[in-house]
Amino acid sequence: MLIIKNLTKIYEGGVLALDNVNFSVEEGQFLAVIGLSGSGKSTLLRCINRLIDPTQGQVIWNGLDITAASHEELRRIRRRIGMVFQQFNLVYRSTVLTNVLAGRLGYVNPAWSLINRFPKSDLEKARQQLQRVGIADKAYQRADELSGGQQQRVGVARAMMQDPEMVLADEPVASLDPVLAHSIMQYLEQINKEDGVTVLCSLHFLDLVHRYADRVVALNEGRLVFEGLPAEIDDKKFKEIYGKDAERVG
């Protein structure tokens, strides 16, 4: 159970990115976060694992106040929250395997990971995850040699290495073509349905929302303007979320 309480983020320079956002996510839910570019979706997701520190409000996860966690506690929380990024955020000059293994950094002892030593079980796990996303043969290639879709699969595998209880996906398919987008979304769906991992996923296209999400929250200029089922987004709601002049595509 993830509870977002009165979450507000004001960036330096006074930009109000999140304005008193309240909602909660049941365990095992696939929640889509929608809204225009700049509406605060990325900020919201990053406030949950505190890549960005919120100005006010609380994020409570399974009874644990993430916003009040100390540095050391935060590391222990973060390692149970996987994250997938729009720009994949791989280390391009490292191998695919190293990128995937990086997902274990929160678990392995820092002293050993400094000399690039991971336990055998982690290596095995990394292979399995690569197998699962269908790029086991690319393990020793450099990440920048892969195509965009393959890179995002590495991103998903890295998140799954963390044995996450929750995955934050920040527009995971916005840089991919529709076919690849569906294949990545299917991996996320699989993680959600088979492993019971809670998924928070910001999305641009409503057909993806309808196809994959259990519930939807919508942001507009940092305010929560909609919370409900995907089917409830009719034309009127759509105009509220995206503005009067918006037209539906896709």
């Binding site: 929250i81 955020n89 280390v91 391009y92 000059r93 990086a102 079980s121 991103g155």
Partner: protein, 609 residues
């Protein structure tokens, strides 16, 4: 009409402004000419031009290759004055070089014409009058044309004699294969010295600049924040940890002296030490940890790590002794690799120095890390009043410690020798200032300690970079004597400062995405640097390091002027001796090295990027 008027006005103003600008420019450049003492008369003076031409020609003929030279004499008989009877001059041998004098006899101090044939083409030498006493009286010089012919008119000296006297021409000619001059050999020796001087300086500088560059990268440091209590405790713990580290390594080092007497005992205890170091470390550092360990387990682990580090220090000391021993044996037994033996001995000694240094640093870091955690714990666990008062106390103590340490530094430099001025007053002031700061900062707030470290290290680096290696080398030459080693140390220091800046700017320009992604996995700061930062900065680091090597080669030419060894020393000597041909050889050597380094670095960059 009005419009036209204003236009006219503006154009007048504009041309006035332009005229003024030209005037100002004239004044500026005129003054520039005066202060830089531009002197066109000198450039036109024939004497100066002659000297210039001489230098340029010398520079164009680097002193690299020479031939063995052979002196070659050709004699022609002459009678001075002419005898009474008929004169029959012997026919010259026309198979080799020969001379014909006209006339073949003459009064002293009259002119004769000397014509030479079959000489080496384009050669020269003196033309000499040889009286019976065999004294050489030079009458002039000759210069042959391309067919080996010359013709001069010389005045005979005032040496009348009954006997036959001779006119002799001495030419020199090259024989045998060309070979390198002494200058070329010296230049080769010194350019090798220079390349290795630069290599060592670059290696030492790079090794230290890499870790420093992370502390001077804003994007890594700006998020490092810590509560005041843990900062104060860390500050207090650093000196204590360093002292403990030094003390421990001294104690263990004393133990080593006993164990290293006997070679077998030395090797045996080295292995035992390694095992004792390895096993507890494996136990205390499990590869992965899912559950949070209990307090007692953590304490046991700390103890095990302490034992392991003692054993590690012991083994390292033993290893250094062993290496020194090995080096000595090599140097004595195998004369032809003597330098390798000496090098290995030096490595052992460097290791021994490093152990103490590392033990001090590790001691300081470990203690301050634990103290910092303790501070964080206090901040969250203690009741309000105790927390606030402890916070104030620790901060005041930390302030006092910092100021007392700076006081000790100042005392050492300026020899004030007054405890009240260098210890009690600064400590008191520091305590009061820190107390005030602690009162102002709410204990819940974190202090951006990362930025503080960032600014301090940047300032130190800027100051270091501002000092030219030319000046540093003077200080180091006093310490280690004139020679290339002083140059290595001076260039190393400057390399650290220069490279750390370049490196940290590279760190600041990496892609933030991977950093964010690795942080999100729960990696700590060090892991983030190793997995997200370092892979991104390898190519620019390599190219900067190569470029720095190139700079160090060029700088070491200047360093030599101030006693830093290398080719600069030779270059300076030759310039001072007006030996421009030798200087030219050295400049060519530098140019070749710099050009080949450029090529090498481009190849390496291509391979790695």
């Amino acid at each position: 009409m009005r419009q036209v008027d204003t236009k006219k006005k503006t154009s007048i103003i504009r041309s006035l402004g332009l005229g003024l600008a030209v005037l100002v420019a004239m004044v500026i450049y005129g003054y520039g000419f005066q202060v830089t003492k531009v002197n066109l008369d000198e450039t036109r003076s024939p004497r100066r031009q002659e000297q210039l031409v001489r230098i340029l020609r010398a520079l164009a003929k680097p002193d690299i290759i020479e031939y063995e030279r052979e002196e070659f004499e050709v004699n022609a008989p002459i009678l001075v004055p002419c005898p009474a009877g008929e004169l029959t001059a012997p026919e010259p041998d026309r198979s080799g070089p020969y001379m014909i004098l006209t006339p073949q006899c003459a009064e002293p101090q009259t002119n004769i014409r000397v014509e030479g044939f079959n000489f080496e083409p384009r050669t020269g030498g003196p033309i000499i009058f040889i009286p019976p006493s065999e004294v050489k009286l030079q009458m002039g010089t000759i210069e042959t044309d391309e067919s080996g012919h010359f013709e001069v008119t010389v005045e005979l000296p005032k040496r009348p004699s009954e006997e036959v006297q001779y006119v002799r021409v001495i030419t020199r000619r090259n024989v045998g294969a060309p070979h390198f001059t002494q200058t070329a050999k010296d230049t080769w020796d010194k350019i090798i010295e220079t390349v290795f001087l630069a290599l060592l300086a670059t290696t030492i500088g790079t090794a230290l600049a890499v870790p420093i560059s992370f502390f001077t990268a804003r994007n890594l440091m700006k998020d490092v924040r810590s509560p005041l209590a843990s900062i104060s405790l860390s500050i207090l713990a650093w000196p204590a940890g360093i002292a403990i580290g030094i003390q421990v390594s001294r104690l263990v080092g004393g133990l080593t002296a006993v164990l290293s007497d006997n070679l077998a005992l030395n090797i045996g205890s080295l292995f035992a030490g390694l095992v004792v170091a390895w096993l507890p470390m494996r136990w205390a550092l499990p590869q992965e940890e899912i559950q949070r360990p209990t307090i007692s387990l953590r304490l046991a682990r700390l103890a095990a790590l302490f034992v392991a580090s003692l054993a590690a220090i012991l083994s390292l000391f033993l290893l250094s002794k062993l290496v020194i021993e090995l080096g000595n044996v090599l140097a004595v037994r195998f004369q032809f690799v003597r330098f390798l033996g000496t090098f290995i001995t030096d490595l052992g000694e460097i290791l021994a120095i490093l152990i103490t240094l590392i033990a001090a640093l590790v001691g300081g870091a470990a203690l301050s890390n634990s103290a910092g955690r303790l501070g964080q714990l206090l901040n969250t666990r203690l009741p309000n009043l105790a927390r606030v008062s402890l916070n104030l106390l620790f901060t005041a103590l930390a302030g006092a410690t910092l100021m007392a340490l700076s006081g000790a530094g100042i005392d050492w430099l300026y020899q004030i020798d007054d405890l009240s001025k260098t210890l009690w007053w600064p400590a008191g002031i520091g305590a009061v200032l820190a107390f005030g700061a602690a009162l102002l900062i709410k204990e819940a707030d974190t202090v951006p300690i990362g930025l503080v470290i960032y600014y301090i290290s940047r300032t130190i680096l800027n100051a270091l970079r501002a000092i030219e290696p030319l000046i540093m080398v003077i200080v180091f030459a006093v310490w280690v004597g004139i020679g290339p080693f002083a140059g290595v140390l001076a260039l190393s220091l400057h390399t650290i400062a220069a490279l750390a800046k370049l490196y940290s700017e590279q760190v600041e320009s990496i892609l933030p995405g991977p950093l964010e992604a690795v942080t999100a996995t729960g990696a700590n700061r060090l892991q983030t640097i190793i997995y997200a930062v370092i892979p991104q900065i390898v190519p620019p680091y390599i190219s900067f390091t190569m470029y720095r090597w190139d700079i160090n080669v060029r700088m070491s030419t200047i360093i030599g002027f101030a006693g830093g060894g290398g080719i600069g020393f030779l270059l300076q000597q030759n310039i001072n001796l007006f030996n421009y041909r030798a200087a030219s050889a050295q400049m060519i050597a530098i140019a070749i090295v710099v050009a080949s380094m450029d090529y090498l670095s481009s190849v390496m960059r291509e391979k790695v990027v």
